[in-house]
């Protein structure tokens, strides 16, 4: 029976310098799949190459040994990157059978990700699967395994809180702003200073619906440059108070050693904006905004420590949730494996049932012939008797064939009832 196999490396086993040597560009995936498919040991294959992992998911051809497949794929990975085996040795891991299935399920559910619960990996897996399916590289076994993996990922996301809570500073900024404003549609973002983080946070806010970005900086040139980067409008530094009155979300990250926004200024601003709430994010060190500004009604002030504390809390929450996610993965793996086992014994089960039924039918015919034609319905009764004897006798062996050790039992059954000999007749 074909076996599922995983071979590859990830952020857990290899540093970036090694991973990038093994990575496949988007264009290289299809040719690689063709080459993999041409290997005699490989029945089905799929290639997943992201910045955090490079993995080959494969199924053996027929009942070929998994070890041969592993050696072949390892050889292929090395050869396709014109590298020495020693470069990757110690970084590559492999899983066979149950461990491989579990690994695929864990990766899809983002339990093996750098940031547990991050959603990108599922999309990447789906597109890798799509490419492999289109190239005809995946068949019924790997296909079913991947489809199930996507189902498991969905279950994990809906039944656990693994993906809840932003896991980096700029997404936390967005989530906090949403706690104040609801959706960010039509909101104005003001970026003060030209730090890299403010750049990222501003883009995040726009992705979530913010209408426009205003940028200001002590140096007008740098303001212009940042405005171009984030598709915003540069405004003069002297207008700071007016800009604050117009903005809903403010991200400040100047290199100033003194606070640039004080409580008195903020009070004036709140009056000017008719007490509409304003969300201030101070990601500068030393801080740009006096902490006392947070005391003003309608002002919500978070500094870099607050944001990072939330990130840490959220990540801890995800780690906690991953325990219940692992339970789901365990259960789903068991279920998949039992389906897989049952696939292997299907011909035996079919053969056994046919064998019994043929014998029973023949005996019924003989009996009915000796009894002669009868009109009292006993013919039907005899047939039913034969059918139910067959069904009752077969029940226990059928159940056994669907359970553990199915392969050994199937072999025994085939021998005991001469199922293969019957086929030759």
């Amino acid at each position: 029976m074909a076996e599922i196999v995983v071979i590859g490396m990830s952020h857990r086993t290899a540093p970036l310098e090694v991973r990038e040597k093994l990575a496949f560009t988007d264009d290289a995936v299809e040719p690689a799949l063709r080459e993999l498919g041409a290997l005699p040991s490989v029945g089905e294959a799929m290639l997943l190459s992201t910045c955090n992992r490079v993995e080959v998911y494969a199924a053996t051809r027929g009942a070929g040994p998994a070890a041969t497949l592993l050696a072949d794929v390892r050889q292929f990975l090395v050869a396709s990157h014109r590298a020495e085996l020693a470069t990757f040795a110690g970084h590559l891991y492999d899983h066979v059978g149950p461990a491989a299935v579990k690994h695929v399920f864990r990766v899809a559910s983002s339990l093996d990700s750098l940031v547990v619960g991050e959603p990108q990996i599922l999309g990447q897996m789906k597109s890798a699967y799509g490419i492999a399916a289109q190239a005809g590289a995946v068949g019924p076994l790997l296909g079913r395994c991947l489809e199930r993996a996507f189902g498991v990922a969905k279950r994990v996301r809906s039944e656990t809180a693994i993906a809840r809570g932003a896991a980096n500073v700029s997404s936390v900024a967005v989530q906090l702003a949403q706690r104040v404003f609801g959706d960010l549609d039509g909101k104005t973002v003001l970026v003060i200073g030209a730090g890299k983080m403010s750049d990222l946070a501003a883009r995040h806010l726009v992705d979530d619906g913010a209408a426009r970005i205003l940028v200001t900086n002590r140096s007008p040139e740098r303001a212009e440059a940042l405005a171009r980067r984030v598709a915003g409008e540069a405004r003069p530094w002297a207008d700071l108070e007016k800009l604050l009155a117009a903005a809903d979300v403010v991200i400040s990250s100047t290199g100033s050693t003194e606070p640039i926004i004080g409580k008195a200024l903020m009070k004036g601003v709140m009056k000017a904006r008719k007490h509409q709430p304003i969300f201030l994010m101070d990601i500068a060190v030393p801080r740009d905004i006096e902490p006392a500004c947070g005391d003003v009604d309608g002002v919500y002030l978070f500094d870099i420590d607050d944001l990072e504390r939330v990130v840490v809390e959220n990540r801890q929450g995800r780690e906690r949730e991953s325990q219940s996610a692992e339970l789901i993965v365990e259960a789903e793996t068991r279920q998949f494996l039992s389906w897989h086992r049952s696939q292997g014994v299907v011909p035996t089960i079919k053969g056994l049932r046919e064998r019994f039924q043929t014998v029973a039918q023949a005996e019924v015919q003989k009996t009915l012939a000796t009894l002669g034609p009868r009109a009292d319905g006993s013919e039907k009764a005899v047939r039913q008797l034969a059918d139910s004897i067959v069904a009752k006798l077969l029940h226990a062996p059928m159940m056994a064939l669907k359970g553990e050790d199915a392969d050994a039992l199937a072999a025994a059954v085939e021998k005991l009832f001469d199922l293969n000999g019957r086929e030759q007749k």
Partner: protein, 259 residues
Amino acid sequence: MTPLFWAAALLYAGAAALYFGFLVGLPDRLAIWARGAVALGFVVNLLEIGARGVAGLHPVSSARETVGFLAWVAVGVFLFMERKRHLPAVGAVVAPGSLILLLAARLSPAGDPSNLALGVVGRVHILLAAFGISVFAVAAASAILYLLEERQLKRRRLTNVVKRGAALETLDGVAHRCVQVGFPIFSAALIAGVVWSAQIASSLRPEHVIAAVAWAAFAVVLVARMTAGWRGRRAAAITVFGFAATLVVLAFYLVRAVS
């Protein structure tokens, strides 16, 4: 007590528990179940009120009937406000609130109905007041949640209530909208009340003064928001105060009906 009453009370209690569970961080689907329980409770409560009406105990026949009716209208207002927004956190206040009102209405001892001489104006007064207070109830529920969340956000604490509750602006908006709608109804109720008092030549009682204070509080919320841009915490606090005052008035009526 009829089975319908117990069914409605149980549904409201269940919804309250589910909403509460959702607020403290249990799975999202609890909010959906809670909403179902509230909606079902609303229907059962209506049937219950209908059955009482058939038996002669219609909503304006006594103070306790009015209070029970008010619980039902408040749930209706909440469901109406919730159809476009996601307000499970408000439900966590409305559901137990309505449950308490319903229990207070049905479990308080019945007074002597014969001492109630209502007439048309009296009935109009009671009906309008019930509607107005119900709308204020949802405003107050939003405002309470606003105050709770605002405090935690100000302290930079991202508790489950902040994460699960609605956004501050949404809560502020719901509270404001409800005060806007409730205020004219409550004003009309007050006018009808004054006319009714004059008809039955009633003297000035404490509950009349408290009702006037409640009315003034809501008037302040509306006017100050328009002129001085009052919103957020101050508006929420006054809204809660105004609603509390209307509850005191109701309590007066309930106690008076019994004694």
